[in-house]
Symmetry: C2
Subunit: 242 residues, 2 copies
């Protein structure tokens, strides 16, 4: 089993992922929001790569039971029902709904990896259960850090390092490379106080400036949700672990 | 003064660099080779982004005093006088010559950043003198890690972290971001034994397999060459520090 971590979705093209097992991480906040929406019984998340496409697909193909969610530059998009704060995705709002979801980084990374054979979503909230499932698949794993506008983000990398460490603890024969060595080292340095790390990160600072401190607290929680979001045929649903 | 590190040249486009101060790092081996060639009195290095262009420009526009150098996948290119081993660039071979230079990662990164106002080349060999010069410029600095085929490379990142640490030691008011925090942490973990780090890196292992152990030893030396390679109008020459 080999692990590889991409620190930006732009470093590979769509076909790179064909047939692979891929995990997308966007701690602040898309992957934390997807995990939360599914925990709160959303029927499915439909990740889209453009706002135009979000508006188009929300028009009826999901039978009226859709909500538009997401953000551009941390802010809710005009006309959308929901932003990208996981705390908005309460059960009474999302239960049973299809959520068409656009975000600046996370959903683009998901759409880019759409040809993967297995495509999962990971955050700190559901890290251990994703690690266990990945080990059970016994494939090579590509971890994509959604980053910020193609640039590096610390929180996604620390999460990737923690996921890698958990996989290695379950399957010590994993082959490492430069990217995994780096992410493991960053998890060693920053992974023991996730809240402090998120607060000092570029994206954490921006969210705090825009009034989303509660999201940072929420997203810093480790292994509090037993949900594996699984992308198949254009939608993300909850997978029951084996 | 702000620092930013790009872990792959692909995360930004050519125009991103317009007017900026940029440093390109490709420890194994393009930037180490450029530094060495200039130390050994090469007149200039002409970095090119394709082999076809290397062959085309070497035909006469530099008056017959040209050498073709470089590699594809670590190996010397058929018909080229020199590979990408810094040890080949001896004074008796390169003195006074224009070297048209193509490599898989490093020269592509240089060509990508060609619109920079200041464009320098850094390796472990010449790290301190580059740091001093950058501080004297008093601009924001973009550091590009050449990486490997758009992917992350540990040795370029550790070198970027060491360069950042040196800049910060000279100019403590530097504004950091996620990318710099990560590179500093990796320099803390791996930067005290550069030879061991290079040997365990993906690229170091590949070079060793292909018989280039001596290059790894050579490139692991810190601050042994007082040369600032400076790109201007398509060629890299030695700059005299102020």
């Amino acid at each position: 089993m080999k692990l590889n971590i991409l620190f930006s979705p732009i470093v590979a093209d769509e076909l790179y992922f064909t047939g692979k097992t891929t995990v997308v991480i966007d701690v602040l906040r898309a992957s934390s929001t997807i995990v939360t929406a599914l925990k709160n019984d959303a029927k499915e998340i439909v990740p889209v790569a453009t706002i135009e496409f979000a508006v188009k697909v929300s028009g009826g193909m999901f039978g009226g039971q859709t909500l538009l969610g997401g953000e551009r530059n941390t802010k809710k998009i005009e006309g959308f029902a929901l932003g990208n704060s996981p705390l908005e995705y309460e059960e009474k709002i999302v239960s049973g709904k299809s959520i068409v979801f656009y975000t600046t980084n996370g959903t683009k990374a998901l759409v880019k990896a759409k040809f993967s054979e297995n495509l999962l979503v990971c955050s700190f909230l559901n890290l251990s259960i994703v690690a266990k499932h990945l080990v059970s698949l016994n494939n090579n794993v590509e971890i994509i850090c959604a980053g910020r506008n193609n640039f590096f983000s610390l929180e996604d990398t620390v999460c990737a390092g923690k996921l890698a460490a958990e996989i290695i603890s379950l399957e010590p024969e994993v082959e490492l490379n430069d990217s995994v060595a780096a992410a493991l080292a960053l998890n060693e340095k920053y992974g023991n106080d996730l809240l402090a790390m998120l607060k000092q990160s570029d994206h954490g600072k921006l969210l705090a400036e825009n009034g989303f401190e509660e999201d940072i607290n929420y997203c810093s929680q480790l292994n509090v949700v037993n949900v594996i979001p699984y992308y198949f045929n254009g939608v993300i649903k909850t997978m029951k672990p084996e």
